[in-house]
């Protein structure tokens, strides 16, 4: 499956990437799987996306949990807790 990744604020700066199109292996089926799969890249990816780090996730512009299933072409975003207003 092909999906679009987006990173914002401190997460974007830590990874040095704002967006990326990726081809996922068949074993990656949920938003949480994407996080684990990206962590396996090591280095800043392992640290920034580590379990226990305060991180929010969105799928197709909606805040979501790790269990949300991916769909072809969906947009998955990782970012810190929001601080607007």
């Amino acid at each position: 499956m092909k999906i679009q990744l987006r990173f914002f604020a401190g997460v974007r700066e830590a990874l040095g990437v704002a967006d990326e199109a990726v081809q996922l292996p068949d074993s990656v089926v949920t938003v949480g799987d994407v996080r684990s799969w990206l962590r396996a890249r090591g280095g800043d990816w392992a640290e920034t996306l580590a379990e226990g780090r305060s991180l929010r996730m969105a799928c197709n512009h909606e805040m979501t949990g790790p269990g949300t299933r991916l769909t072809e072409g969906c947009e998955v975003a990782f970012f810190p807790p929001v601080t607007g207003g």
Partner: protein
């Protein structure tokens, strides 16, 4: 119901006036303006930069207004949120809610702000003498939502007095 995400400043009188004139049935108009402070947790702030997630930002603000409409009889609501570079005393956000009576306007305005604080994808980066850093989310913002969970069963219950 209007949502605007923009770099430009806004004029409170112009926005409030437009809402007022468009809704003669609304006897109450509550407006909240969020402003950049020159101090955050005791440290002087010289500049602030706001980043957001285009597309998701608008969608989440519309969803928050939709949630407020399900709880209170709202004639109209407006949210304007700025992004980009801002300085102390600059306006960041405007939430304006027009309703028949004041109780609903006050409550819905506060509800929209409380949800915006925890659900709309904006991030603040402050510049201080020590350099630029991302502002941490506050527990108090999450706790502010708890009162709405408790009052969910009786929207507008005290608004007719």
């Amino acid at each position: 119901m209007t949502v605007k995400v923009q770099t430009e400043d806004f004029d409170l009188s112009t926005e409030a006036g437009a809402l007022r004139r468009a809704h003669p049935e609304a006897g109450a108009l509550a407006c909240f303006v969020g402003v950049v402070r020159d101090l955050n947790q005791g440290v002087a702030v010289s500049e602030m930069e706001l980043e957001h997630y285009p597309g998701m930002t608008e969608k989440s603000l519309e969803a928050i207004i939709g949630e407020a409409r399900a709880r209170w009889p709202i004639a109209d609501a407006l949210v304007i949120h700025r992004y980009g570079k801002l300085a102390p005393t600059d306006q960041i956000v405007l939430v304006a809610v027009a309703t028949a009576h004041r109780g609903d306007a006050f409550a819905a305005c506060e509800f929209i702000m409380d949800y915006l604080k925890t659900a709309a994808p904006f991030w603040k980066k402050e510049t201080t003498a020590g350099g630029a850093h991302w502002v941490d989310a506050r527990d108090t913002d999450t706790r502010a939502l708890e009162k709405w969970a408790q009052t969910a069963a009786e929207p507008g219950a005290d608004s007719r007095h």
